[in-house]
């Protein structure tokens, strides 16, 4: 027997009220934990993929759409651009490196990107098996695609036109898998990379187009500047003087995050309100129970409990609730993240480790227990200030 045990049994005496409070704390915890985890994963996922890309050039349209399609491969491309025009831009003295991308075809919903070896190099990709592609209709594929469809070097597959899983097949030209990349946590994990020529071969120019070689098109071009001067002048130049559009990933992603940020801030506020409500619920129910518990507390004092023991007992009761709510909330949140992580990884390339507990989540435990204990301070003070003798004799009649 000790005061903690009494606190615990006192809680069980009003199970519904305790449950209600615990559920509030649970929801608050779960919400904060999910927001923290998803927010961090999104942030990491997005920032990782723009590493080394200062500007993206593509067809006119939504700049965010261009970034999402060309950098993250999650949106439809805005259209095609002339390779000639893009190459002219690549010659600019402010440009250090460019990577041409031709995409729009897919294999079972995973995108096929026609590009050069510069693209995997941009993300420091390493090979797990096999080699890089060395000609048309050879592919080196991301680890996630390989694992998902069980593709190995030497296997062949047909691409489909468009990015829908049930799109029309280009069934005249099989691709051969040459190699598989190691998982990197970047967009390439979800892609099948091949030579640009394969894309052009699959989409022959209209009959009678004599300048086919001249009029080659690509979908987008990733640009790296020599120095920061490029950011100031090149996007404006591209948007004004060419038929192409330039978008800066860092700016677009910040804009996207501002939108997310609003949502996250709103949800965070909701979580905070729920948790404070949990605290208020503790405060109110303890204050309400003050009278009916007064006699028992006086009884405990008459048995030899000091005031500090009674005070601690009441605070412990609130802290136990907080701890229970927090633990349940964490279990819920991480179970939710576990179910979410498969989809988030496959569809958006956002890596969530559902069993990773963030430092902030540990602080959250402290914050919730503190909040609960704080809510109990006034009821506890009122309890220990009572006149034991008076309470005992008032109840004798």
């Amino acid at each position: 027997m000790n005061t903690l045990k009494i606190s615990f049994y006192n809680l069980l005496r009003k199970p519904l009220s305790a449950l209600l409070t615990a559920v509030m704390l649970l929801l608050g915890t779960a919400l904060v934990s999910v927001l923290l985890q998803v927010g961090t994963a999104l942030d990491e996922g997005f920032r990782k993929n723009i590493r080394g890309i200062d500007m993206v050039v593509g067809a006119k349209g939504s700049p965010l759409g261009l970034i999402l399609s060309a950098v993250y491969q999650i949106d439809s491309p805005t259209g095609n651009i002339s390779r000639k025009e893009a190459r002219a831009l690549a010659q600019n003295r402010l440009v250090e490196q460019t990577v041409e991308l031709s995409f729009g075809d897919s294999y079972k919903g995973r995108r096929i990107v026609g590009t050069t070896h510069d693209y995997p190099e941009l993300y420091d990709m390493e090979l797990r098996e096999g080699s890089l592609w060395s000609g048309p209709f050879e592919a080196t594929i991301g680890a996630q695609v390989a694992d998902e469809f069980g593709l190995k070097p030497g296997d062949t597959f047909f691409s489909a036109h468009g990015t829908d899983a049930d799109a029309e097949l280009h069934d005249d030209h099989p691709f051969t898998v040459r190699g598989i990349f190691k998982p990197s946590g970047t967009v390439i994990d979800r892609l099948l990379l091949t030579d640009q020529q394969s894309i052009w071969d699959l989409h022959p120019p209209a009959p009678g187009d004599t300048l086919a070689e001249e009029n080659r098109e690509i979908t987008a071009m990733l640009v790296k500047f020599k120095n920061k001067m490029g950011i100031l002048t090149l996007p404006r130049y591209v948007n004004k003087e060419t038929s192409m559009q330039a978008a800066l990933p860092s700016i677009e992603i910040n804009r996207l995050f501002e939108l997310f940020g609003l949502g996250i801030a709103a949800m965070r506020a909701v979580a905070l309100v729920i948790m404070v409500l949990g605290g208020i619920s503790i405060f109110v129910s303890m204050l309400n129970a003050l009278k009916e518990r007064a006699y028992e507390m006086a009884l405990i004092r008459s048995m030899g409990a000091r005031r500090i023991q009674v005070f601690n007992m009441i605070l412990a009761e609130a802290a136990i609730l907080g701890l229970v709510g927090y633990t349940a909330g964490m279990v819920l949140s991480h179970a939710g993240l576990w179910t979410l992580s498969a989809t988030a990884g496959a569809e958006f390339g956002i890596a969530i480790d559902p069993w990773h507990v963030m430092t902030e989540e540990i602080y959250l435990a402290g914050a919730i227990v503190f909040l609960c204990a704080l809510a109990a301070v006034i009821p506890a003070l009122k309890t220990i200030k009572m006149d034991v003798s008076k309470v005992l004799s008032d109840h004798a009649q």
């Binding site: 009884l299 048995m303 030899g304």
Partner: protein
Amino acid sequence: MLLLSADFGGGCFERETHRAACLLQKLTPEKCPFKGFGLPLTAYHAYLPSALENQPILQTKNLRYSYPNQAEIRFPDLVCDRGAHLLIAGNSGSGKTTLLHLISGLLRVQSGEVRIAGTDLGKMSQGALDKFRGSHIGLVFQQPRFITALTAVDNVTAAQYFGTGKSNKAEAVALLEALGIAEKACKPTGQLSGGERQRLAIARALAAKPAVVMADEPTSALDDENADLVSKLLARQSAEYGAALVIVTHDNRLKAKFKNTVTL
């Protein structure tokens, strides 16, 4: 050491007191394990076993108490020896409960003196007084009420814990056994009958092996049969634990059963 020698009523105590005083004087203030002389007499208890053991378990002098805006109540001086019985009779409103709360330390002494086993309750801090009460005094109230969240036996172990800092379930069950309610040990207290509840209250009062059991109207809510049983159990169990028994009551049925009676 004036304090000590003045407190002890002379006779053979004086020699003991003197011995104890010498013992204490050998301790320099720095070495003295107890801060502040005089206050926590309980603390000296360990050093003065023979001196304090011979003190009456309960002794009051010139005890008075006044509630705000009410006439002062004066109480006769009381003495109760270790293991003895004392019945304090008085009609309603004569201050019986006030007296019981004063001698058990539930009310702070305003004027006069209360000594339990030689220790002056008026000179203790609130925390020390609570602890002292828990370890020396077992209380039985007119209405036997309990910590409702706990089972019968856990109410006894809770009293052990608050009184001594430790709990012992086996002893608690043995106590319930002695009072004939062992089969109710794991029941919520709400499921016990009136007589059983009063017996459980006695078990709780004895849980911390107190030197004195103080009961406030323990029988007035009970019928003749149960009143007789409860008073017998109180006397028997107190004797078994070597505890003195102080009862305040207006219940005339009890007067015949206890010899040492003071009337308010």
